[in-house]
């Protein structure tokens, strides 16, 4: 009965993986690569559309791959949580792909041609296969309903992410990629050890079977700690964040956008899935207090660093450390309130950060291309030169700090109101205070943008589609904010 839909969800993973192989075989040939990218995006859009329609129509469902169900086979599951992440991931991927294409292929002036040949950086031949591999891996993370499958998807996404950071080619990028690699494999192995303990305790890895079997005992607690530690390392929760700022700052801008928007979001989604959903009964609440406290420190630390760094992309990367902290500060609220509103508050915050941060990184990539660097002190007055990129950065920043009308506001409002109902006051204060710190570093950039200054030498025009893609994502934060109105309205 679910034949056509089965095929449709499978395309979210199959199309990018097949595209990855195809672009590799085509060796980055112009025209052919574009056709593969277009087909992949089309398949992903149809599949996402299909799964969202089915979730809204008839609720959560599972897909048995090759008609082999659990416990012997591997299942994919879609519910409102994974559908929300997948639905938001799609426009982020499309915008980032357009920008990546723009940066790889934008026409370069003859004056620059000589400089450019020496400039290290990704080529179409190496970039697209890794890019599509990451796309498939991240989609698999949101779809898998099996712990071992999740481990494989984590490794797939992690390795593709590391390699994409390395495509920037310069020495700092290679060093950052290696740091990212070692943090990433340590996280994966911690997760795998947790998987081993879960299997030993419950004799199954299927999340639905585990949900009904989960019990509170010592071996489950150790397993949850190992699974969680691996995921928190991959999500870059303070103090396990040291790998993130350099990797996200050194990567090519569209890669930074995807890493910050989606690749650190997938482990957050999995912590939510494993700790507060599947193993809800087995989780000691004190763990969430601890994680929330780390998150609060992360907000202050990441924001403080974002106020001091010299480069725009580093600033946005440290902002990711702060925003990941914010997401984990929300976990105790979701647990204490236990309500649908609080859970959606966290989801809105996470997907809102995904869209906003992607638009900010893409805008920063455009600005860096236009200026030839991203040193803030030499970019004064960029608002007049690149207004669209500046709007995109500003609007994304507004969503991060939670200006009403953006998706960031909806998330914070739902979390604050549900938190106050259960007197989770310190967490509500932390969520609210993060807005002030966010405002400070967003304003730091905008103040540089609007100051008038003569155009620096070497500034070059930017392919329009780069700025427009960043801007479209920024507008999406407002569209999502307005669209989430029905969730926010019925509250007192």
């Amino acid at each position: 009965m679910d034949g056509p839909v089965t095929a449709s969800v499978g395309w979210l993973v199959a199309a990018p993986l097949a595209g990855s192989v195809a672009t590799f075989l085509l060796r980055g040939r112009r025209g052919a690569s574009e056709a593969v990218l277009l087909l992949t995006a089309l398949a992903a859009a149809l599949a996402t559309n299909g799964l969202v329609a089915r979730i809204m129509g008839s609720g959560p469902y599972t897909v048995e791959i090759g008609s082999w169900g659990a416990p012997a086979g591997i299942e994919w599951a879609v519910d409102d949580l994974s559908a929300a992440f997948l639905a938001v991931a799609l426009p982020v991927w499309i915008a980032a792909t357009i920008v990546a294409h723009g940066l790889l292929h934008s026409p370069r002036s003859p004056r620059d041609a000589r400089v450019f040949r020496k400039e290290p950086g990704p080529t179409a031949r190496t970039f697209w296969p890794l890019w599509l591999l990451l796309w498939g891996g991240v989609n698999a993370l949101f779809l898998s309903a099996d712990l071992f499958n999740l481990y494989v998807a984590l490794e797939l996404a992690g390795l593709a992410g590391v390699a994409l950071v390395a495509t920037a080619g310069v020495l700092p990028a290679l060093q950052a990629a290696l740091r990212y690699f070692f943090a990433n494999v340590a996280g994966s192995i911690s997760f795998l050890t947790g998987v081993a303990l879960v299997y030993h305790r419950y004799q199954t890895l299927d999340l639905q079977l585990l949900r009904s079997a989960a019990e509170s005992d010592a071996s489950t607690t150790v397993a949850l700690a190992l699974l969680g530690a691996g995921l928190l390392l991959k999500a870059a929760l303070f103090p396990m964040h040291a790998w993130l700022p350099r990797a996200h700052a050194a990567a090519p801008a569209p890669v930074s956008a995807i890493l910050s928007a989606l690749v650190v979001k997938a482990p957050v989604y999995l912590v939510l899935r494993l700790w507060l959903d599947v193993f809800h009964v087995a989780l000691p609440p004190s763990v969430l207090t601890f994680v929330g406290a780390l998150g609060a420190i992360g907000i202050v630390w990441g924001s403080a660093r974002a106020l001091r760094v010299e480069r725009l992309k580093s600033l946005i990367a440290y902002s990711t450390v702060a925003q990941v902290g914010l997401l984990f500060t929300a976990f105790p609220i979701v647990h204490a309130a236990g309500s649908r509103d609080a859970r959606w508050g966290l989801v809105f915050l996470a997907v809102g950060h995904a869209v906003a941060k992607a638009s900010m990184f893409l805008a920063a990539g455009g600005l860096a291309r236009a200026h030839g660097h991203d040193r803030l002190d030499q970019m004064t007055g960029f608002g007049a030169r690149e207004p669209l990129c500046t709007y995109a950065f500003g609007l994304g920043g507004m969503s991060l700090l939670g200006v009403p009308g953006t998706i960031g506001f909806s998330g914070k409002w739902l979390l604050a109101t549900s938190g106050l109902e259960v007197w989770a006051v310190p967490w509500v204060v932390a969520v609210s205070a993060s807005a002030l710190l966010t405002a400070a570093y967003v304003w730091r950039v905008l103040a540089i943008a609007i100051r008038s200054a003569p155009e620096p030498a070497g500034t070059r025009p930017l392919a329009r589609r780069i700025a427009w893609s960043a801007f479209a994502l920024a507008v999406l934060t407002v569209a999502l904010g307005l669209g989430s109105g029905p969730f926010v309205e019925p509250l007192p």
Partner: protein, 98 residues
């Protein structure tokens, strides 16, 4: 009976040694070896826990370990490729990472 305890325990020891090497050793190749040791430890733990002392063992952990070996081979390849590129740009950078 002893092998029921011995294999998982050896796995945990390998995991801990690997983690210590990954964190403390500055040489990049040592770090790669350390991560391989961690992966081996995790595999040993998986298989060791799946082993119940009888002749017929649970095949699922063994299937997982096979996949895990493929994953760590690929991961090692990625790391070595990046280290090779890095050593061309900065020949001394392989011995000291921060």
């Amino acid at each position: 009976m002893t092998s029921l305890v011995l294999y998982p325990l050896a796995g945990v020891v390998a995991l801990a040694l690997g983690l210590a090497g990954l964190v403390t050793r500055p040489h990049l190749l040592t770090k790669v070896l350390a991560f391989n040791l961690m992966a081996t430890g995790a595999s040993l733990l998986l298989v060791g826990l799946g082993h119940d002392g009888t002749a017929s063992s649970d095949p699922v952990p063994q299937a997982m370990v096979l996949t895990g070996i493929v994953v760590s081979v690929s991961a090692t390849a990625v790391a070595l490729a990046i280290i090779a590129r890095l050593s061309r740009l900065d020949p001394d950078g392989v011995e000291r990472s921060d």
